[in-house]
């Protein structure tokens, strides 16, 4: 590679890498937390709040209750139970970043009872791994954009870094052999796991 092109690749590699660096650090740390669930402590607590919500269909009411409670998270449809004919509560789960909320909404009493399960700060950090959206939170949506940019940028960093070092790889065959051996070893593990 000509010197001027090498210099350009180095520059792009470095400056794109600097922009993505905070995400990559979070991605690496949250990846470690994903494979070690016992590192994340969990706790539960209950609380109640009075709310004025106009009654409607179950999914829309659940979203309105979530917003009125000031919470953020997905509302899995299979976790929404419409009120029974005897006048029971609307039940649903909010899946937030590293925490969940099991909500009972008593329409007649205008009251929400919430059981909150939390993995604390570590649970939240783990939830940032590949997080693409968090309904009810603009910051969560913005993090989703950063996720897409970073995951698209990471292969660029790998490829541009390899291109910068092409000449060096040729000189240092042992590095290329080590890389090939690593990849081959991991492929053996994959086949070992996946094949009958």
């Amino acid at each position: 590679m000509k010197r001027v092109w090498r210099e350009r690749w180095v520059r792009w590699h470095l400056w794109v890498g600097v922009v993505l660096a905070p995400y990559l650090v979070v991605y690496g740390l949250s990846g470690l937390l994903l494979s070690h669930p016992d590192w994340v402590p969990t706790s539960e607590r209950s609380w109640e709040r009075s709310l004025e919500i106009a009654p409607g269909a179950a999914p829309e009411t659940a979203a309105a209750v979530r917003d009125a409670l000031g919470l953020a998270g997905r509302l899995p449809r299979w976790k929404i139970e419409a009120p029974s004919s005897e006048g029971g509560p609307l039940r649903f789960r909010i899946v937030g970043a590293g925490r969940f909320y099991d909500v009972d909404w008593f329409a007649a009493e205008r009251r929400a009872r919430v059981l909150e399960g939390s993995g604390g700060w570590l649970g939240m950090l783990r939830a940032l791994h590949g997080l693409r959206d968090l309904p009810g939170s603009r910051l969560g949506a913005a993090w989703g954009v950063y996720t897409w940019v970073s995951l698209a940028g990471l292969p660029f960093l790998i490829v541009s870094g390899a291109l910068v070092d092409v000449a060096r790889w040729r000189r240092r065959r042992q590095v290329a052999i080590l890389g090939g051996a690593l990849l081959a070893g991991w492929l053996v593990v994959v086949l070992w796991l996946a094949l009958p």
Binding site: P22, G31, W121, G179, L182, L193, A194, L195
Partner: protein, 197 residues
């Protein structure tokens, strides 16, 4: 910086390359399994089921501690899998054992000395997709090695990012700060905001 410092240019470049080397190879594997995970229409994912009936040598022992007896039963079925779930009811026991692309569902009725096993094979595409989420340190050596690869990749990613920033810092402190501060501030804001919800 002294020439012996681990932060000297040669050391930084070496660490950065070492991290990228580890990351590059594992990234290929994670990207491949990630694509299989994200595109379920890719490849044949249908389960191929077979049913088997096995006799229990010691039914009482099996019902008392099914986890201990499972390796022998799985060997009799000719499959490798880890026990994921054991459910007891008054009617009997349900055991689920899994490996990426394979499910073994066992049913043992109370008082019976036989076990009915359904072995479901999902093929290489389903297996590849399932590998993406197989990151737990349990279920045998292959699972442990795969989880170790995931951990090494995660640690390499952090090392790659930090050494990269240090290399950029040596080149231009002003530009590094200008690019790093906004994204770091944004990341800290997200962590603080979501952590305090």
């Amino acid at each position: 910086m002294s020439t012996r410092s681990p932060l000297r240019l040669g050391s930084l470049v070496a660490w950065h390359r070492a991290a990228a080397l580890g990351l590059g190879a594992s990234l290929l594997l994670y990207a491949l399994t990630g694509w299989l995970f994200a595109l379920p229409e890719l490849g044949d994912r249908r389960w191929q089921d077979t049913e088997h009936t096995l006799s229990l040598r010691d039914p009482e022992a099996f019902h008392r501690d099914p986890g201990a007896a499972m390796p022998e039963l799985l060997e009799a079925l000719g499959v490798r899998a880890r026990v994921d779930r054991i459910e007891r009811s008054s009617a009997g026991l349900d055991v689920l054992a899994r490996r990426p692309g394979l499910r073994v569902e066992l049913r043992a009725d109370t008082g019976e000395s036989i076990v009915v096993a359904r072995v479901r094979r999902g093929g290489p595409f389903r297996a590849g997709s399932a590998l993406h989420g197989t990151i737990h340190y349990r279920g045998g050596l292959a699972f442990v090695l795969w989880a170790a690869v995931a951990d090494l990749s995660a640690a390499a990613l952090v090392l790659f990012a930090v050494t990269g920033v240090l290399l950029a810092w040596r080149r231009s402190r002003g530009l590094t700060l200008a690019l790093l501060l906004p994204t770091t501030a944004f990341t800290v804001a997200v962590v603080l905001a979501l952590g305090s919800l």
